[in-house]
Every structure is written in structure tokens, then in C-alpha cells.
């Protein structure tokens, strides 16, 4: 794919590369690769890259290479860079326990006429592409969620979403790597530790990674260290089904 882009300074030490190409899985794969190539090629000058859907923010040291030199240098590098259109890395498979005890918004889908089996099938048969990582370490925004599963964010975000929560907002799905506030629709839980600063790599994906969810049983979920943290009984003691 021919990349069309602009490079603009946004601060003393930051440039924003903006791609004109529409958002797509292929673009994400290429942005992911490019971000990594730029860090390598301009090592010592570029100190950070922040890839996202259609952009890469480049933080650099202008006293090592000034703006007038780095912009054409980057432009030439991106234009000449050979980037594969497909993700060469292995598909990432995330175990997913889909159940009311960890997915409170499953009730909303039920209300729409989708059974738990429908939700599981629709969510787990897709292969998603990571198009952005941010909001928190290891929080990967993935597309494209099947039409029947698309829902807007909650009107009132939760103050605390349990770690591992599998979530949907519009056409994107994500897993909350750690407990945090969150406004997405929660349908299940992934028991794996998605962000571990002591491990290399510290997260299992990068921009462009292909990800899928593998439905697992409650037993396997607990074996893998999963925890059911949403209440399963309401205040009257009746089970929340």
C-alpha cells in the first residue's frame, strides 16, 4: 500500500506523522512496523514513538538532529521503507470466559434478543486488529466488532472495572489490563496478565497484531487465575442470571 502522509511539528521535540490512507487493518499493520523501524533507524535521536490509528507521534532530540533535517529524513525513510501488508507475527489468542458473573452487560445483549451463545460466537469468531494502544499500559483498541455486538459506551462509566474485563464500545473491543475506571460494555474476562513490566515483551501485542478470543469454561478460567469479581447475587441474595 502506498502511504500518503504529512509530517508536522507539534512541539519543540515532537512531530506528528499523519497518514491520509483510511483506517484499516493493513494500515495498522504498517503503522506498527513503521513505528518500530523509526525507533531503530533514528536511535539516539528519536526517543519515543506513539503509533495510533492514523498517526505516529515522534519525540526526538532537536539538539542531536534539528527539525529541518529530521523531517525530510523521516519522509525519505517512510517512503522508501518496505512494509509487509500483513502481520507477520503469530496471531495472539486470548482465553475468554464469557459469563454473567464477569460480564454484566451480557444482560443488555440478552435484552436485544441475543443469547449468551450468540454473543460468544459473534465475539470469538472474529479476528481483530490492534489499531491503537493507550489509555493505560496494555489497553489495546481492536477492530472490528460484529455489527450485532456494537453498542455505545455506558452513559455513566464505572469507577472500577476489574482487571481482565473484556469490553466493547461501538466497533471496538478491548481488555482492561488492570483495575481502572471504564465506560465500555463488559461481556467477559480474560485471566491472563496482559501487562507485566517484568516480562519481555511486557504486553502480548503491538499495533497491527491480529488477536482472537478463545472461549473457555469456568473451570479453565479459575485454573488460569481468573476471578469473578462482579457480584453474582443481588442485595436480596437472589442470583443475578
Amino acid at each position: 500500500m502506498d502511504l500518503e502522509f504529512s509530517i508536522e511539528p507539534v512541539a519543540e521535540c515532537s512531530l506528528l506523522i499523519r497518514f491520509v490512507n483510511p483506517v484499516s487493518a493493513t494500515l495498522s499493520v504498517q503503522i506498527g512496523e513503521l513505528a518500530s523501524e523509526i525507533m531503530g533507524k533514528f536511535s539516539g535521536i528519536v526517543i519515543n514513538v506513539t503509533p495510533s490509528y492514523q498517526t505516529i507521534l515522534v519525540d526526538y532530540l532537536p539538539y542531536r538532529m534539528d527539525q529541518d533535517e529530521i523531517i525530510p529524513s523521516l519522509r525519505g525513510f517512510i517512503t522508501a521503507c518496505y512494509l509487509s501488508p500483513e502481520c507477520l507475527e503469530e496471531r495472539v489468542e486470548l482465553p475468554a470466559y464469557y459469563h454473567h458473573s464477569v460480564g454484566p452487560e451480557l444482560a443488555l445483549y440478552e435484552h436485544d434478543g441475543l443469547t449468551l451463545q450468540d454473543v460468544i460466537r459473534l465475539h470469538s469468531e472474529a479476528v481483530y486488529t490492534v489499531c491503537a494502544i493507550g489509555f493505560a499500559p496494555g489497553f489495546a483498541f481492536m477492530t472490528d466488532v460484529a455489527e450485532p455486538l456494537r453498542k455505545p459506551r455506558l452513559k455513566t462509566p464505572r469507577l472500577r472495572v476489574p482487571a481482565g474485563s473484556i469490553a466493547i464500545a461501538e466497533n471496538q473491543t478491548a481488555v482492561y489490563p488492570a483495575i481502572s475506571p471504564g465506560g465500555w460494555n463488559i461481556i467477559g474476562n480474560c485471566p491472563l496478565k496482559l501487562f507485566d513490566p517484568e516480562q519481555s515483551p511486557m504486553i502480548p501485542f503491538t499495533i497491527g497484531s491480529q488477536v482472537c478470543f478463545r472461549p473457555i469454561s469456568r473451570e479453565e478460567f479459575l485454573d488460569l487465575g481468573g476471578e469473578c469479581v462482579f457480584p453474582t447475587r443481588n442485595s436480596a441474595g437472589h442470583p443475578i442470571t
Binding site: 519543540e12 518500530s36 514513538v49 495510533s52 493505560a136
Partner: protein, 312 residues
């Protein structure tokens, strides 16, 4: 011969004393934020006064009320907000290095001006690194003494390397000393979605006097003023540079700082000049802030001069 145990013992601490070095770089692709000192000017001076490397771990003491003691003689430096620092009740000059002898009490009271002070030690605090940095990021559970993003507490021991003391204090020349009581004027490098804001919003940005709200922290500073209408179209999240001025739908500017999220989808009108962020980092709720249009080339040149001076 056994080495002497060199550590600064924390006797008492205020709410927010964090270990910070210059920050964590290269991990944005994983969503890990840069962290580091909010006032990098004061942090850098504290290290510079001791002849330290630019990246040495120091303490960022916010609001104050801290007390330390060392079992051995050491050389420290303080810079930033005036926290009425004393050694054995004797007042210490700010923006200067000092001899802290064994058994003497180093105390910080409440800030008399500004908000954050930096305490550096010769050779830096030896606290271990996480993802290449000692910087503490609470919301990511990263860094700091316990490698979990937690602030320091009473009883903590901050190890340092044995070193030589200077006979006298090294002081910063007065012309470099900021006055935190002066009006805060922040130069703006226009960019990002600046072109999508109506001209009236831009002139309002430069004409108004904004007020620093209570909602300030290491992620950013929320300001309050006449709303600045901006582009209404939802946009895709993109990387956020340090100092970016974000204008959410309510039209109230937020200047994003060291613990900002790496990407975000609200419109941005530009970035505050790197040289002016230290002043904002010392602003307290209720203080007034004004924006001025800045000139990128000139600001880059000046920043590079300081970067070379401090040895980044």
C-alpha cells in the same frame, strides 16, 4: 572492609513525595506514559548543583511536610518551591546545595510559594529501575522505591552512594531563579487541530485570563475560563505530546503533563512551550494563567540551549 550503609531515612512525609528521574522513554507503543518531574527545570538544577548526571533520581516533594535524617554525611541540593527547608532548624537557601551531616534533621514545611520542591543527592538516589527508569507513576503501578508506583512513606530508606562533600554550598545565580508569584504566561506552539478551531476561539485563548482549578495533578492541569468552542467532529485518538492543550467539548482547556495518557481523542489547539511547563507545574489552584502565541524556532533554540547546559 564493609561499605558504610548510606541512606536517607524518611522520618515523616506529606502526601505526595515521589521518586523521579528524567522519565521513561520508548514505551508509548505499550501505553506506558513518560512520568518524570513535572518541573524539569527545578529538578535539573537540583542535580546540576551537585554535579550529578542529568538523569539522577531525586525526590519530588509536593505540598511539603517532610523530614529526613542520614546516618552519614552527605551533599544534597534543593530547588523549586520554597518549602522553608531547614537543617536542624537552621534555614536553607533554596536553589542551592548543602552539607547534611550525620544525625542532622532535614525538614520541609508547607510551600510558601509554588507547589513542588526537588531534593537531590550527590550521585542520585539508588532505587532500582523499572522499564529503564526510577520514576514513579501511581496510576500505572510503576516505579518508585517499591517498584509498584507507590509514593514514599515514613520509614522508607533511600540509598545513595558514598561521596565527597563540598566545603561550601553551590548556589544558582539569581538571574535564573523563577519567581512563582509573578503572573503565569505560557507560550503556545499552535498545532494539532488549531486550524479547525474558529478564529474567535484562538483570540479568546490569547485574550482571556484563565484560573487554575482544583483539578490539577501529574496527568494535567484543568483551567477555567470562557469556553473555547472547537471542532465538533469526533476524532480518532492520536499521540499526545507533553504540554498539549486539550479542549474537550466543554471548552475548558486542560494542559497535559507527565502522566497524561499516551493517546487521546479530544481536540488540541497546540502545546505549551517546554520552557514554560515548569512555571505551570508550580501553579496552585486559584492562580491566574494567560497564554501567548509562541514561536517554534525560537523556543526550540532556547530549549536546546538548556538541554545542552544540563547535559540531557
Amino acid at each position: 572492609m564493609t561499605p558504610v550503609n548510606c541512606f536517607l531515612q524518611v522520618i515523616k512525609l506529606g502526601q505526595l513525595t515521589l521518586i523521579q528521574d528524567y522519565g521513561r522513554y520508548g514505551f508509548s507503543p505499550a501505553g506506558v506514559t513518560q512520568s518524570g518531574p513535572l518541573d524539569d527545570y527545578a529538578y535539573s538544577w537540583a542535580n546540576h548543583l551537585l554535579g550529578n548526571e542529568a538523569n539522577c533520581a531525586a525526590l519530588e516533594i509536593t505540598l511539603g511536610q517532610a523530614e529526613f535524617v542520614s546516618p552519614v554525611d552527605c551533599m544534597i541540593a534543593i530547588a523549586g518551591a520554597d518549602l522553608a527547608a531547614t537543617i536542624d532548624e537552621k534555614a536553607l537557601e533554596n536553589w542551592a546545595s548543602h552539607r547534611l551531616l550525620k544525625g542532622q534533621r532535614l525538614k520541609f514545611a508547607l510551600a510558601r510559594n509554588g507547589l513542588r520542591a526537588y531534593l537531590a543527592i550527590r550521585g542520585g538516589f539508588q532505587t532500582g529501575l523499572q522499564l529503564g527508569s526510577a520514576s514513579t507513576t501511581q496510576r500505572e503501578s510503576l516505579g518508585g522505591l517499591h517498584r509498584d508506583g507507590s509514593p514514599l512513606v515514613a520509614g522508607d530508606r533511600l540509598v545513595f552512594l558514598p561521596h565527597i562533600l563540598d566545603k561550601k554550598s553551590v548556589r544558582m545565580t539569581f538571574r535564573y531563579k523563577p519567581d512563582y508569584n509573578l503572573p503565569i504566561r505560557l507560550r503556545v506552539i499552535e498545532g494539532y487541530q488549531a486550524g479547525q478551531f474558529p478564529e474567535s476561539s484562538l483570540s479568546s485563548l490569547y485574550r482571556q485570563v484563565f484560573t487554575v482549578t482544583q483539578h490539577i495533578n501529574r496527568m494535567g492541569y484543568r483551567l477555567q475560563g470562557e469556553p473555547l468552542p472547537g471542532p465538533s467532529q469526533a476524532m480518532l485518538s492520536e499521540g499526545i505530546a507533553l504540554g498539549a492543550i486539550q479542549i474537550p467539548p466543554d471548552g475548558q482547556p486542560i494542559v497535559l503533563l507527565n502522566e497524561r495518557q499516551t493517546i487521546g481523542g479530544y481536540p488540541k489547539i497546540g502545546c505549551v512551550a517546554r520552557l514554560d511547563l515548569p512555571r505551570l507545574a508550580q501553579a496552585r489552584p486559584g492562580q491566574k494563567v494567560q497564554f501567548i502565541r509562541g514561536e517554534l524556532e525560537e523556543l526550540q533554540l532556547k530549549w536546546c540551549q538548556w538541554a545542552r547546559f544540563f547535559g540531557y
